[in-house]
């Protein structure tokens, strides 16, 4: 069998030899043949010098896939070609964030001086977006160790402060001054977590008593104000991978039962009435009570919002209560402005009952990204939800896209 194959190849080679110059040109890959002298004598090719590339400007269609499924690093893929563009070094429960000023990729990291022993080292790292080299390292007094979160490392909308969530022993936020590359202060945040940047110099966070805490960081002493309770943190929690548009401060909070609460962040957050995505889909409102089956949102990153159009994409499955991490059987598309269903898309093939993460790009011709937590990330058409690309061994974690 092998030898037969070989014979065929030998013949094929003869054919190749004739047409080789053309072939050698394709794909822009240099072939020694391009160095054949006019006389036809093969001259010695110049040896190729090793070099290191740089990353072009971050594109809206680049999806950043966080580590996981046995792979370290956050991989950057071009959603149009499906090709990997590069990697940001990340490990364990490291957190990732974009720089609103576009200069750096930020990583909050916790490591030990001897890998599984020695001295603990918590720090905020800045990697240059072009060279991907480490350009700044700021030591911080601890951070929370948990994976698959999008709001534990956030950068204030002016790009001047990095906020790193900590729980050692009580809830707090470590603030890094990104202009001085220095640790600035620790802000106590009792009973709250999941930081959403707002349009002022500060942030808001969800709290265990169902309120939203807002921290203003003007001046030296941070001041904390709390909203009235608007959800049950234990009966119907809001997913802490809910979405905020840091440009406008418009947040879209999704609860386990399928309630969406629109919140406009700022000095005094405006919390609108919640609406049911099941009712928007002409169904009975989702309840979070025993023995009640319904379509429910689920996954590690179950919601994505295209800010310009207000389109909301939600990973949905049929389940009872406490099925908040189940993979999706359908993707629902809703209009965040009219609170109406746009479409339900049943997932099939390798997408069916697999997807746990979803994200969208923020350009006008936007793409939908979804992953199965087992290394496969897919690019989907924003209208048909058809599979456009599949990236394998892409990592198993959160999907990030750059904000416009």
């Amino acid at each position: 069998m092998l030898s037969a194959k070989t014979v065929f190849q030998v013949t094929a080679l003869a054919a190749l030899a004739a047409s080789s110059p053309a072939i050698a040109q394709t794909n822009g890959i240099a072939s020694p043949l391009q160095r054949v002298s006019p006389t036809g004598a093969v001259t010695i090719p110049q040896a190729e010098i090793p070099s290191v590339g740089t990353l072009g400007p971050v594109q809206p269609h680049w999806v950043f896939v966080n580590r996981g499924n046995g792979q370290d690093g956050t991989r950057i893929f071009d959603g149009d070609s499906g090709k990997m563009k590069g990697m940001v070094n990340m490990y364990g429960q490291d957190s990732f964030a974009f720089d609103p000023l576009g200069k750096n990729f930020y990583v909050a990291q916790t490591i030990w001086s001897k890998l599984d022993r020695g001295t603990r080292q918590d720090s905020l790292l800045a990697y240059d977006v072009h060279s991907l080299k480490l350009v700044a390292e700021v030591s911080i007094p601890g951070r929370m160790l948990i994976g698959n979160r999008t709001h534990n490392l956030v950068i204030t909308s002016d790009g001047k402060k990095a906020l790193i969530y900590n729980m050692q022993p009580s809830s707090s936020v470590n603030v890094v001054d990104l202009e001085k590359n220095a640790f600035e202060q620790k802000i106590e945040l009792p009973g709250c977590a999941t930081m959403f940047t707002n349009t002022i110099n500060g942030f808001s966070a969800l709290c265990s008593n169902g309120t939203l805490a807002t921290v203003a960081m003007e001046g030296g002493k941070p001041s904390i104000t709390r909203s009235a309770p608007f959800f049950s943190a234990t009966e119907d929690p809001i997913f802490d991978t809910s979405i905020v548009d840091s440009k406008t401060g418009k947040a879209t909070m999704l609860s386990y039962s399928g309630l969406i609460t629109p919140v406009t962040l700022g000095a005094t957050p405006k919390i609108d009435a919640s609406w049911s995505i099941q009712q928007a889909a002409f169904m009975r409102k989702g309840t979070y009570t025993p023995m009640d089956v319904n379509w429910m949102p689920g996954g590690r990153q179950p919601i994505a919002v295209h800010h310009a159009t207000g389109r909301i994409y939600v990973l949905m499955h049929m389940g009872e209560y406490w099925s908040e991490y189940e993979p999706a059987g359908e993707i629902w598309v809703l209009n965040g402005n009219t609170h109406r269903l746009i479409a339900r898309h049943a997932l099939s093939g390798e997408l069916k009952d697999k997807l746990v993460n979803i994200a969208v790009s923020q350009d006008s011709n936007f793409q939908v990204y979804a992953s199965d937590g087992s290394g496969n990330t897919f690019v989907l058409d924003n209208q048909t939800l058809e599979k456009k690309q599949k990236m394998e061994n892409s990592g198993g974690g959160i999907l990030y896209t750059v904000q416009p």
Binding site: D116, R120, G191, A193, L206
Partner: protein, 182 residues
């Protein structure tokens, strides 16, 4: 009645496992968060709240508890694992409440409230991580009963529950029986 029993269990545990800790902190209507004092996150859950909403058995009837078994603690559907996310220590050389050799048992835990189908009663389970070794990789379960988000940490199963240990590398998770709820 519920409140009283929980309190008694609570006090036993606080003495035995946790040293002193905030009375306000130890009790939430989802159960107990067991912790060593300096590490335990104090949360604004009032005693009154807790007593006002006892964790009745019907609230514990979930898809998991209606399908759980009591005979094989190396399977994800073993009754105690209703709130487990991670590798079962019982599959890693350890047991339901024992860490494998060389690992370090966490002094803190998240809590689950699971029905034992043998007596149909609800029990509090303390999920302690075993730490300081690479991920075990065996018997990965991702059960979801009462799993809250990060802002309610005592019932969040994504947190690396290795607070205060020399190394917080996650190896596997145990499920220790705490006591009956009703």
């Amino acid at each position: 009645m519920t409140g009283i029993i929980i309190d008694r269990i609570g006090e036993k545990l606080v003495r035995r496992l946790a040293g002193h800790t905030s009375r306000r902190g130890i009790l939430s209507r989802l159960g107990l968060a067991l912790a060593a004092a300096p590490v335990f996150p104090v949360l604004p859950v009032s005693r009154a709240q807790a007593q006002g909403k006892p964790d009745r058995g019907d609230r514990a009837r979930t898809h998991f508890t209606m399908n759980s078994q009591t005979t094989d603690d190396t399977k994800c559907d073993y009754w105690r694992y209703c709130g487990v996310d991670g590798n079962l220590c019982a599959c890693c050389g350890g047991g339901t409440h024992q860490c494998p050799a060389g690992a370090t048992a966490s002094t803190t835990s998240w809590v689950g409230t699971c029905i034992n189908p043998d007596d149909n009663k609800t029990y509090l389970i303390a999920y302690r991580d075993c730490c300081g070794k690479p991920g075990c990789g065996q018997c990965h379960c991702d059960n979801e009963d009462r799993d809250t988000q990060l802002y309610v940490p005592q019932t969040n199963n994504d947190i690396i529950w290795c607070f205060g240990l020399d190394n917080m590398q996650y190896h596997c998770s145990t499920a220790a029986l705490v006591g009956a709820v009703q």
